[in-house]
Symmetry: C2
Subunit: 340 residues, 2 copies
């Protein structure tokens, strides 16, 4: 199996390499008959261009990179899927740079960044520092942030504050007043805990005139175990909450299971709300917030593609979230209501 070069096609078709190249790039400056002949020869010989040569000559690799923290599996799996879909048929291929530790994160967010020179970059759930953002902004290739923002960089995300407000409003409507928040970091490497969700939570309570309490605000890891542990902590409080909003479905399901194991009825004795609307939530009937992960990826990739077409500047976009009401929330128990 010998490799066929553009030269071979040219010789076989009785034309020059330039013509073959023009056919390949869809240039209009080729006679229809010639084009047909060249195309037929390409087909017959099974010619496929060597991308490295093309990349060397043009300076474009036709590779896009996605930098993804591999922790929140449900999230990144769906986002990647969306990206893939947007890229299908675009001529670009996707290089995935998985990030598990700080060193890797820094490596990929620092500019000259790594092995494969990509034509553009998608950064998922990772917040660049001011310095990193500046570098990214002045880089020769575009970067789009997904579920994160940074000064001057295009991004696609959702309004976590609004989402949290919706959740709390729903619980208030059901009659709850003792509502806790168990959050988890979106960016595992962020220096500060996630602020948006907490602000939405506080704002919704403030609007309703319900006092907040530090004891009702926890931040913990994004795992079922952490969710269960947080639940225990809250239940041990002198005045335990009658409803808990979690920062992720995994935590919520872990807590849900733990609560039932303790003999608590959900939603009878305790209401629980997740976040994300992953498959998990659907399986167990968890009320949650739908985060359009797939669309996030798809839109971000589309945006990046557009930037590559020279269609700058890019406008950041924010996708809507929606409360998904399932079976894990109800009215607070009567004894709890009286104490609230």
């Amino acid at each position: 199996m010998v490799r066929i070069r553009i030269q071979d096609v040219a010789r076989e078709a009785g034309v020059g390499v330039g013509t073959v190249s023009r056919v390949l790039s869809g240039s209009p400056r080729v006679a229809a008959a010639t084009r047909q002949r060249v195309l037929a020869t390409i087909e017959r010989l099974g010619y496929a261009p060597v991308l490295a040569a093309r990349a060397l000559r043009t300076g474009r690799t036709h590779v896009l990179r996605a930098v993804v923290p591999l922790f929140q599996r449900h999230f990144y799996a769906e986002v990647l899927r969306g990206i893939e879909r947007a890229l299908a048929g675009s001529g670009y291929s996707l290089a995935v740079a998985g990030v598990e530790e700080r060193r890797e994160r820094d490596h990929w967010l620092r500019l000259p960044g790594g092995r494969t020179r990509a034509d553009g970059q998608l950064i998922v759930s990772l917040t660049p520092s001011a310095g990193e953002a500046r570098q990214l902004r002045t880089a020769p290739w575009p970067t789009v942030l997904v579920d994160a923002t940074a000064e001057g960089l295009p991004s696609v995300g959702v309004d976590h504050a609004a989402a949290a407000r919706q959740v709390v409003a729903h619980l208030l409507r059901l009659g709850h007043t003792r509502i806790a928040l168990v959050d988890c970091p979106a960016d595992p490497f962020a220096l500060h805990p996630p602020a948006a969700r907490r602000e939405g939570y506080r704002a919704a309570l403030a609007t309703a005139g319900v006092p907040t309490s530090p004891a009702y605000e926890l931040v913990t890891a994004c795992s079922a175990l952490a969710g269960a542990t947080a639940l225990e902590r809250l239940l041990a409080l002198p005045t335990p909450p009658s409803a808990i909003c979690f920062g992720s479905d995994v935590q919520a399901v872990g807590a849900l299971h733990a609560a039932r194991g303790r003999g608590l009825r959900v939603p009878g004795d305790l209401s629980i709300v997740g976040y994300g609307d992953t498959e998990l939530a659907e399986c167990v009937g968890l009320t949650t917030v739908h985060i359009p992960m797939r669309e996030l990826g798809e839109r971000a990739a589309t945006l990046l593609l557009r930037a590559l077409d020279g269609d700058t500047p890019l406008t950041p976009c924010e996708l809507p979230v929606a409360l998904v009401v399932r079976a894990s929330c109800g009215a607070p128990p009567v004894d709890a209501g009286s104490r609230g």
Copy 2:
């Protein structure tokens, strides 16, 4: 921001490009002092080689491709993570080719295969046809199959038959005799339903002298809804099973939830076993089979790397599975046991 070439480094360091290249490739034929000087210059100038040029020259792209069906999210997410880990620091980057439809599958399994010319390929959960396998075998670059097998191709997987035998043996030990199997296809594009799990299931029952029944063997989609639907079908049988083995955790959790919604106690009235041991299973206390997805990816990538080092031939490898006993299985209800 101007691009720095190897030439610039050479000039700046007062050496020839050959020397710089030798330093880059770690050749021993460079004086220590010269190497130091070159290294320092590289650092100072922030030089990074243009991979396309290197690829063109050497014929190696240093890109590995993973062909992955994007359906079974839990599975592919973990496998990808394992692959990533194995590749970290290897100098190879990972191009992910997501497969959602038959056309895409065929595209990637057919040889000249697509945009990025990769140095090697990992195919996950997709079974090549005889013809495809032959082509892959004679290809100039190696392919490793993950959770699939094909004549003459190296693979890493698990023994699904043994896994199913373990599950059934466990249920038999608990006293069940009316054991159903709700399976799902591993390869979404396979022409035949998955055979290994079913064979293990049948073999275990046969060994125990328990008759099998076609009505107890279902194959359906890998979703919570499909699991719930299958449950309904089985419960509607004249003699419903007292235990159900599922082909995936998602199905099992869907069924678990549906069963409880129907007022059945699990494990009191019905025992349920999942498959995979995804996060899902842990969250809800599902007895299941641990499939080492991450290790699968890691081993496969390691194998591929070894092949790239010329360390052929590759020996297929099979990773062990293990039953994970949680709370979803118990003894059959007494009335059921008497009828079994």
